[in-house]
Structure formats: C-alpha cells, structure tokens
C-alpha cells in the first residue's frame, strides 16, 4: 500500500513538473519572438529613416547652399561701347561689374535676344567688386545708331541682368 502511494506521488510530481516545463518554454519563446520582431522592425525603420534623412538633408542642403550663393550674385553692366570693324557696326564692348558678395562667371550674353556664348576655357570670372570687359563680334546682326539695344548678361548660376543702351 505504501509502495502504491509512492508511485502515485512520483507520477503526480512528474506530471506537475512536465506541465511547469511546457509553460516556461512558451513564455521565453514569446519574449524572444517579440524581441526579434521589434529589433528587426526597428532596424528597418532606423535604416529607412537614416537613408531618408540623408537624402533629404543632401538635397535640401544642396538647394540651400546653391540658392544662397546664387542669391549673392549681382552682376551689373556699367558701360557699353559700340564700335566698328572698318565700316561695319559689329563690335560691342561690355563692361560687367560684380557688385555682389561672391565671384561670378559670365556664361552668356544676349544682344537683342541673340545668344553669344562666352568661351569657358578659361572661364570669364569676375571677382567681387571687380569689372571685366566682354567683347562681342556680332554675327547675323549689326548695331544701328540710335536704336535701342537690349543686353542681357547670364551667369553660370543662372543669374541674369538686363540693360538697354542706345549707340
């Protein structure tokens, strides 16, 4: 009889231990699973946010920096001389002053809407408070004494200034 009770007691303990063991494994797995999910999602979010912020700061930084510099450009046309080659009215000499805060590079000149590209080797750079001469040899048009001549100066950064002169 006593032996019978001992066997029953062992089985009961065994049964109780097995039950407690199953419960313990389930909790750990749940925690681990949640941890893995949170870490992986957070990592994804972290990587995404880093790349997004990087892209944003890169683009916005470039915009801010380029616009800031372009906004400091102030080219002005100080004087224009209209002269001749022989008897042909085809020479226009322009004096461009930089009254802005950054050096400028003259990219093109328009005379009455006709484009005259300025060679960029070497570039025609005008330092701050400096003045540079730009000479155009006209082709396809001539200046006419007494007629209004519209001259537009464009820089590499896209700043333009327009003036009108009468030869």
């Amino acid at each position: 009889m006593a032996r019978k009770f001992r066997i029953l007691g062992w089985a009961e303990k065994r049964s109780r231990r097995q039950h407690r063991s199953r419960k313990a494994i389930s909790t750990i797995m749940a925690n681990l699973t949640m941890l893995v999910i949170v870490v992986s999602l957070s990592s994804l979010l972290f990587v995404w946010s880093i790349s997004s912020f990087g892209a944003y700061t890169g683009g916005a930084g470039y915009w801010f920096s380029s616009r800031s510099i372009a906004n400091q450009e102030r080219p002005t046309v100080e004087s224009v001389y209209f002269s001749k080659t022989g008897s042909t009215n085809n020479v226009v000499t322009i004096y461009v002053r930089n009254v802005g805060a950054v050096p400028i590079t003259v990219a093109s000149v328009y005379l009455n809407s006709t484009l005259y590209n300025i060679p960029q080797s070497p570039p025609l750079t005008v330092g701050v408070s400096q003045v540079q001469q730009v000479q155009l040899i006209l082709s396809g048009q001539l200046w006419v004494k007494g007629d209004l001549q519209t001259i537009t100066i464009a820089t590499l950064r896209g700043t333009t200034t327009q003036t009108t002169w009468v030869p």
Binding site: N31, M34, L35, I37, V38, V39, S42, L45, F46, S49, I50, F53, Y56, T57, A60, G61, F64, R67, S68, N71, Q72, R74, T76, E78, S79, Y81, S83, V91, T93, Y95, R97, V99, G100, A101, S129, V131, Q133, Q135, K145
Partner: protein, 360 residues
Amino acid sequence: MSTIFGALFFVILILMGFNLMLWNFAQFDAYNRVITTMGLSDQQRSSEVLTFNPPGIMNTGSPFNFTVNNIGGVTSTIARIYVQNLAPLNVGSPCQGATGCIADPTGSPTFNNPNVKNGESFHVVKVTGIAIDNSGYRIIVATTRGNQFSFYFPWPSNLGGGSNSNSTNTAHGALDVKFDLNSFNFTRGTQTVPQQGWTVPYSTNVIWWVKVVNNAVNPIVLSKYTSLYFVCYQDRFGAGAGTGTCTETDLTYVVDNRTMNPGTIYQYDDVNRPYILPAAGPNGPTGSTTVKFGSFCPGQQTFDSNGNCVNGSPSPPQDVDFPTPYLVFMGFFYKVNGVIVGQTISFVAIRACATYPSCP
C-alpha cells in the same frame, strides 16, 4: 526587454527627427541671413541718386572737372567714369572706338574725390588723363553699388518740347523771361490783381505784367524804350474771321512799377526810378522782377492831338485793336555794366477775343 528596446529605438528616432529639425532651422537661418543681407544691399543700391550740374564738364582739356550732387539716401562711391565720344564725324576727337576712355581710381586715366556723401551738392570730381574737346560726349559715372548715372557734354539746351520743367528759358541773353503759366499777365479797368494774359479782351486798355530774370553777373537797368511789340495776323478760324488781313501792330512801352491798372498809369523814369534787375549769383538768377507795360508813349511822354508822342503827362494807355491772335515780341533796351544793350525776345502768342473771357 522588447519594451526597452522599442523605447530605445523610439527615443533614437525622436532624437534623429529633432536633429533634422534643428539642421533645417540652421539651414533656413543661414539662407534667410543671406536674403536679408542682400536685401539690405539692394535697398542701399536703390537709394543711390546722383545728379549733375550744368554745364556738365566745367572745362575742356585735361584735367577736367565736373560737379555731382548726391540726393540719395546713402553715401556713394564712384567706381569708374566712362567717357564716350558721340561725334562720329569728329575723327580726331578722343574717346572714340571700342573702349573709349575709362577713368579708374587705381589706374590711369584716373579721378579724385570718389566718395560723395548723401546730401552733398556741387561735389567736384577732377578727371586726369583724358583731354576732351567740345565735340559731343556721354559721361557715365558708375558707382560701387552697381548704379550708373550719366550726363552729356555739351549740356543739352532745354528745348520746350522736351522739358520737364515748369518754366522754360526763352532767351539766351543776359535778360531772360522764364516762360511759365504765370509769367505773362494783365490787368484792366480798376483791377489790382493780374490775371493770365494768354487770352485778352480786344480794344480794351490793359497793363501787361511780365516776369523776367537776369542771367548776367551784373545788374540790369531797363531803358524807357523797353517795349512789347504786338503783331496781329488774320484769324480765319475764330472771332476775328472776316476782318480781312490784319496789318495792325501795337507798341506798348514800359511803365513805372507803381502802376496797377490802365486807370493809374505812372510814367516810367529810367533815371530816378528805373527797374533794376539784380545780378545773378553762382546758382543762377537772383529772384525775378515783374516789369509792367501799358503806355502808348515811352518814358515821360504823352501824345498830342495828332497822335504824336510829346513830352508831358499823363501817360496814354494802350490796347490791342482787333479780335485776332497776336504775336508778342519783347524789345528790351537796358544798361548792363555801363553798356547799352538791345535784346529782342521772341516771346508768346496771345488771342484777343470779342467774347472775352470766353475765347472759343
């Protein structure tokens, strides 16, 4: 554990967002600083105004001077002076060709006194190294802020059609009439306040009030023979139509300045009570003088029964006899610096109307 990790990442993300926001603020701040600085610079640039004084260049040859006034809100600094010759036929004149003449404060040709304070007048700038002559030039004064101001030499004459002024010179002699709306007036009857004389009643005695100035550096004393000469011409379109060819001329002599209207004419005494026009100063005429006309005879003369002017008084009044337009010339005789001078001013046109004050 996962809660801690989640919270940690959440905090990191919040910090990153906050960092991004701060970066954005810093960028905007830097950008706005540039905009503000350049805006201030643009404001100063737009408040620069330089003007020049006649005759532009004060002397030919080299060096030459000109004066400039700063009527803007900031001190201006002249960066360069460009001299362009505008006389293409004058081959021998300087400053022609592709580059003209350029005066730079650090080079040659050069100039002095580049800084012009705001409010400063007649600031003299001397340009050295460019010899100009009397052919036509355009002088462009460029400032360090990027503005250009220019004038022409010789100084353009102030022609009537292109004038922005309210008064225009009508003569190039010492004595001048400033032609404006109020420079030619008249009184009639017992009037003591003159009214504009562009239209007048005909066959009515009047006193003419004419405003003149003295451009000379010496005073002018008017002679008793100073007069207005009215020449009528046929009016084919107005109240005078049908009166035939008008051949009338009227001569109206100067009277004493106490004269207010045709009823009280004081004879002009050019010895004891002459009109004296004060000498002009460095800035031009010294005020203006109103000279009155209205006598049929000069000086202290009256006319006899034959209509001839003889010594005596009272001074006979004068009118215009036809309702037609008249051309009015002014014959001025005066003494300046002891010399007798005669000067004719082609002056104005008036209309004498039968229906005055309505002159259709």
